[in-house]
């Protein structure tokens, strides 16, 4: 079972391949055209119903999308997100009272700069997708990955949730009822026209804004330099994923969207779950693969396609002519073991052919994961979150944690010994001793502290960039640290990341300096109660 090339010839029962045409298991009349899961054969009509129903059931079960909300659909052009787009169209167009009620927008991120495509190829893909988007009549935004270089650093902060009311079932139902009431009060004939004309007028205006400013070759080169400085494909994919998410987040915030729908299918999420564990993101599994991802505060990411296997999506797209554009990515035609994500993908897919319940088992397991603490934890300091992925920092642990053990063993396995002033709790183990000598006079108030000098001062003296790059690691969670470690030139990172890192480091130093004057939370309560 755990060998690389196992052969089960003759030991397993071979799956019985039916020779006669089977009947659909649902309606029992039509000929089946498709087998889903482990043996349910469906006919065309029943499959379509099943597919559409699953989407609406997924949204209805998790009542997070309120009527009238603006929802951004992240479409990459691939089969799952194109399918999601068509489901949203389908759901919004029904006249039944149970139709979906939200205002959609589309975003497409052109990643050609990172995956090495030429401008013509990128423009061709964008043109193809634009024609698809125009047919839907929703606003769309085409964003190039190069724009990540000019993002503001506010992207990295988790905003506060827009609605403070608890998301209970009763408030959802109340909101839906209220929405239906207001719709009824409007003139029934004109309401549909109103909505349509409003949307079309907005989209006329948005089309100019939809395609963002043209990118210069310098931007593309800077982006390529960033990705070229990353040594492994694993880290590249991880970095690309993070930057993409930041771009989507920024667009959602500036355009007023409160929800983002991502088109991750069941198979893709199963692969993501396993590869995240391998990457060191086990602590944030629940938010990374669950239905809703609330860690950004004001923008919630939902994944309505998480119940569909890639087989179902591919068949649906084929049978009902859903347009999708294939765009090569970073790992197209890569070797089997080129990156952790890629090898996990081939592992899960291969296992799935022999054991068809693999993906659904992993999916069920991920459903059982929940976040332990409430996501809106206002007591958490803003910089107790990872700089890049905004999950809780898991590296600021006490002296005797497993993480410190890995640091020590890493330190010991390097050629040079520990530098002066090295302590297990330091943010930057293994810093070469030469850099402290090259700092010169340092005017930081903690003048006697060796620590302050070595780990960089940010604003207090104009030192070289080198101390800053070391600081980055202390602001990151374990897996982001691994990604940054694979980079040879950290200053190739976009400006917003570097400046936010600088700001947080200064803040934490300031906090340290005035720490004796700050009251802890429980001390404050005690003193207030005491005075009463």
């Amino acid at each position: 079972m755990c060998q690389v090339d196992e052969e089960y010839n003759g030991q397993l029962e071979h799956r019985v391949t039916p020779r006669v045409s089977k009947k659909c298991v649902k309606c029992k009349e039509n000929t089946a055209v498709l087998i889903i899961r482990a043996g349910d054969a469906f006919c065309r009509g029943c499959f379509k119903e099943y597919f559409i129903h699953k989407f609406r059931a997924m949204l209805g079960k998790n009542r997070v999308i309120f009527p009238g909300e603006k929802v951004l659909l992240a479409v990459s052009g691939g089969p799952a997100s194109s399918s999601m787009l068509s489901q949203v169209q389908e759901g919004l167009s029904r006249d039944a009272p149970k139709k979906l009620r939200f205002v959609p927008g589309i975003i497409y991120i052109d990643e050609g700069g990172a995956s090495g495509q030429s401008m013509e190829e990128r423009e061709r893909a964008v043109a193809q997708l634009e024609s698809v988007f125009r047919a839907t009549n929703y606003h769309y935004h085409i964003v190039h990955l190069e724009q990540v270089l000019s993002l503001p650093s506010s992207v990295l902060e988790a905003g506060s949730s827009a609605t403070e009311k608890p998301q209970t079932g009763s408030s959802y139902k109340a909101a839906v009822d209220q929405f239906i009431q207001t719709k009824k009060n409007q003139h029934p004939d004109l309401s549909v026209e109103n909505a349509q004309s409003h949307l079309s007028s907005l989209s006329m205006q948005e089309v100019e804004n939809g395609v963002t400013s043209p990118i210069t070759p310098e931007h593309t080169q800077a982006l390529q330099r960033l990705f070229a400085s990353v040594r492994t494909l694993t880290a590249k994919e991880d970095l690309l994923h993070t930057l993409r998410l930041h771009l989507i987040l920024h667009t959602a915030r500036t355009q007023g969207y409160t929800k983002v729908m991502m088109g991750d299918s069941c198979s893709r999420l199963a692969i993501k779950l396993l590869s995240n564990i391998s990457l060191g993101r086990g602590a944030s599994l629940a938010t990374d693969t669950g239905f809703s991802d609330p860690r950004y505060g004001d923008v919630v990411i939902v994944r309505p396609m998480r119940d569909y296997s890639s087989k179902e999506i591919a068949y649906y797209n084929r049978m009902f002519d859903i347009p999708s554009v294939f765009i090569p990515g970073l790992d197209t035609k890569a070797q089997d073991k080129a990156s952790i994500q890629h090898v996990t993908e081939s592992f899960v897919t291969k296992l799935q052919t022999d054991f068809p319940s693999t993906v659904s088992t992993i999916y069920r397991t991920s459903e059982k994961l929940h976040t332990a603490c409430p996501p809106q934890n206002t007591n958490t300091q803003p910089f107790a979150k990872c700089l890049l992925c905004v999950c809780a920092l898991d590296t600021k642990l006490e002296e005797f944690s497993a993480y410190q053990a890995t640091l020590i063993s890493e330190q010991l396995s390097q050629r040079r010994g520990p530098g002066p002033g090295f302590t297990p709790g330091a943010a930057a183990p293994g810093l070469p001793p030469a850099s402290s000598a090259s700092q010169g006079q340092c005017y930081s108030s903690g003048g006697g502290q060796h620590q302050g000098c070595m780990t960089g001062e940010g604003g207090c003296c104009s030192s070289a960039k080198k101390p800053e790059t070391v600081d980055l690691k202390s602001l990151l969670c374990y897996s982001c640290r691994l990604t940054i470690k694979d980079m040879t030139a950290e200053d190739a990172l976009p400006q917003y990341i570097l400046s936010e890192a600088e700001r947080r480091k200064r803040r934490s130093q300031m906090r340290e300096e005035i720490s004796e004057f700050l009251l802890e939370e429980d001390e404050a309560i005690l003193s207030v109660n005491g005075s009463l």
Binding site: V33, I35, A41, S76, G78, P79, S265, A314, T332
Partner: protein, 101 residues
């Protein structure tokens, strides 16, 4: 005794990259005594059409895991998978599901 069979092949989901980025192919399978089945078709494709990286399309006897096959718009599992015998003017579609969305 089988006459040459005309088959319409389609590739989607990224699989077309291995075939010169051409999605649709009309091929005529040459004459042979035994009827053509899917297994032989795969061997034929591997030998005559695959431009590069055969291991990304064919694995051993069958297609690589993650590639779906539709014969005349029906799942090939319902038709017998590799043992299905090809008829003239059949439409065989290969869709790769390995590139997400």
């Amino acid at each position: 005794m089988a006459a040459p069979i005309a088959i319409h092949l389609e590739f989607g989901g990224g699989a077309e990259l291995l075939f010169g980025s051409v999605k649709e192919h009309h091929v005529t399978l040459p004459n042979q005594s035994a009827p053509w089945d899917m297994k032989q078709l795969l061997v034929w494709i591997r030998g005559n059409m695959l431009k590069e990286r055969p291991e990304l399309f064919v694995q051993g006897d069958t297609v690589r895991p993650g590639i779906l096959v539709l014969i005349n718009d029906a799942d090939w599992e319902l038709m017998g998978e590799l043992e299905y015998e090809l008829q003239d003017k059949d439409n065989v579609v290969f869709i790769s599901t390995l590139h997400g969305g």
